[in-house]
Symmetry: none
Subunit: 200 residues, 4 copies
DNA sequence: AGCTAATCGAGACGGTACGTCACGTCTTTAG
DNA sequence: CTAAAGACGTGACGTACCGTCTCGATTAGCT
């Protein structure tokens, strides 16, 4: 039950924390993930290396926190999937926005860096999924349950699986760059998937 | 038209090439990708470092070639997707095998390493897709076209997109470890997707 | 006035400095100068290579410092040339000792290494001369001036040149190994030279 | 009595030999000795590395041969020390010429390289002395013997030692760069030394 | 004059060391 | 008394050369 050398988070300098997170995001954009180094982050942030090592176990963890902070700013009003009653239109709307975000240059480098690290590093991957991905996916679950209530999705369908039919193809194209990721593709995926989910 | 200092491949030592590829696969299994080093590969293979740098630009490229070589051995009889006339059964059969392969420990580490590297490194990713992934996906295209001919898949469906509804969810679970990747999940994905693809 | 990225010598580890110097002397004795490597010095000293590169520009510079440190220990009572009133005897005494030192195996290898490096590398040569050689030579100047005062050396003789007539032949035989370097040779050189320096 | 793999010098390519020697001299002038490499010599000479390794044991040996070849060209009429009857004038004449040669930039780098290597490498040093230095020194012995016959040098003087009093100080200044090597210095050394050698 | 064996240019190979970079830890120093 | 600054031991990087070893393609010297 010995308390092994854990830093006192009450005394933590918020100024340093922000500077580190900002520096990490800037640098990953400039250099890419593999050439990003803790020393460079410390230098850019005007911080001692130890201040980073005290609070994060790896550069991936720093980047994850930086990304989460980025998300929290953006999501002041945590977006829901709209419910106009037209499931197909609502999904197309959200997925087109997702396509645009994935294709936007400022998200691309840090997002790829984290995704790739999560593929290899199970622990970081779990945190990535828990903190960033799964909350997003739950929005789809919620919307699909509403559709099920409205009789637009067959009863025996498991929404957690259903959403993957819709979301995974986009992720696949983005991660592996097999073919271009376009609005048209998003629409087509929604159409094909929804045919399978609707009653009858 | 600049002749970029390229070594003479006629004089290349086949013995060294094999030793390097074998060592790379062994070591990525033992150490994982991030702790895999060129020096260790050279040491294990009984080869000078320069011999690696002469023929490959990075450890990821070595691993890709190692994986391709592995694939070529396995694929003496290049697997097709069976066609028993029952599309659903055929797909479930193949995807269950894929699930088993993805869950097998000897494929996992090198495959994740390559996938992750491909996510970050566009050039290597393109090669990964072209040499390993796309040939596999084309087998699905072929089987779906046959199904279309047999009237089991609606005419307006684009097989290249359709296959992604089936394959991407499995890839998604494997890459991001959101939820367990099981035979049951594969079956469910096939069922949901096929409902959307079949005529009417 | 450019501040060239220089480390902070106040924080320098004295323990590492000594270990490096000691290791360098040991190794040059065991391996000879051309087979002496920075890596081996670092290894023997239990020190990172960077710690050597941080403070010295080359292995020759390390060896020079090691040699200087050696000299400082030996020269607790900084040797003077004795003055018994008999210049010839005093010189013979000192030169015989020099011959013995030059012929002793523990001084030979590092001393040759430094001398040779100084022959090629003007900068290091200048430091070698300034820190090790010239102080020695000034002892001869001092003794010759005393002899001049005592009327044993002609007034018009320049002591700085005169000493070279005595010292250079020994250095020549030692450096180039033309003929053996013996006590008898030292005596003969003193005799020939002193005939030229005495009045009349 | 086994004949171990010695190349047949009758079949040796004279063209290659010259190209190698020329390239070595050029490169040592451009790069200095430590940065001179066998590979660079081979490249510049348009020759395979093996052709160098077949005929020479080290880069020092190549350079020595190159220097000897250089000497042989210059010394078509192998210079003698003049004998005008005035020993002092004759020595000053020759030594002033030596000073000029030692100070000339084209001889300096290769000559220092060889001298330095000879200081460290006993075997090469011996060859350097035997082939280049000692023949020169013997010219002094010859001239001093003639002076002894003419009664200008005392009978008990050993010419082989005497010459070193004259030559070694110049060599010393050149090798170690203690002080400038000038005509005046050469003259002074001759004067001081000759006072000691003359009868009385 | 043709054969044949050695030398030749070329350069891949297994190695060693280079000098640099970044790691994660530890120490010193200035605010 | 807390951090920044940065020196430290460690270890991998990618490069440069080492000296050895095949490769054809010329040469020569001998038959």
């Amino acid at each position: 039950m010995s308390e092994t050398r854990s830093p006192d988070s009450k005394r933590r300098s918020e100024r340093s924390r922000r500077a580190i997170l900002d520096a990490a995001l800037e640098l990953v954009g400039e250099l890419g993930y593999p050439r990003l180094t803790i020393e460079a982050i410390a230098g850019r942030a005007g911080v001692g290396k130890q201040t980073i090592y005290r609070w994060w176990p790896s550069k991936a963890a720093v980047l994850l926190d930086a990304f989460i902070a980025l998300g929290e700013e953006a999501a002041a009003g945590e977006h829901e999937i709209p419910n106009t009653g037209d499931l197909e239109a609502d999904l197309k709307f959200v997925l087109r926005a997702t396509v645009d975000e994935l294709n936007s240059p400022e998200y691309e480098l840090p997002a790829r860096a984290l995704a790739a690290e999560g593929v290899i590093n199970a622990e970081l991957g779990a945190e990535f999924v828990a903190k960033l991905l799964e909350p997003q996916l739950q929005l789809y679950v919620k919307r699909l349950l509403a559709a099920q209530d409205a009789g637009q999705v067959a009863e025996h369908i498991d929404p957690r699986v259903a959403l993957e039919l819709i979301v995974a193809p986009l992720a696949h194209r983005w991660l592996l760059r097999t073919l271009p990721l376009t609005h048209e593709y998003a629409d087509t995926v929604v159409e094909y998937a929804l045919r399978g989910l609707s009653p009858r």
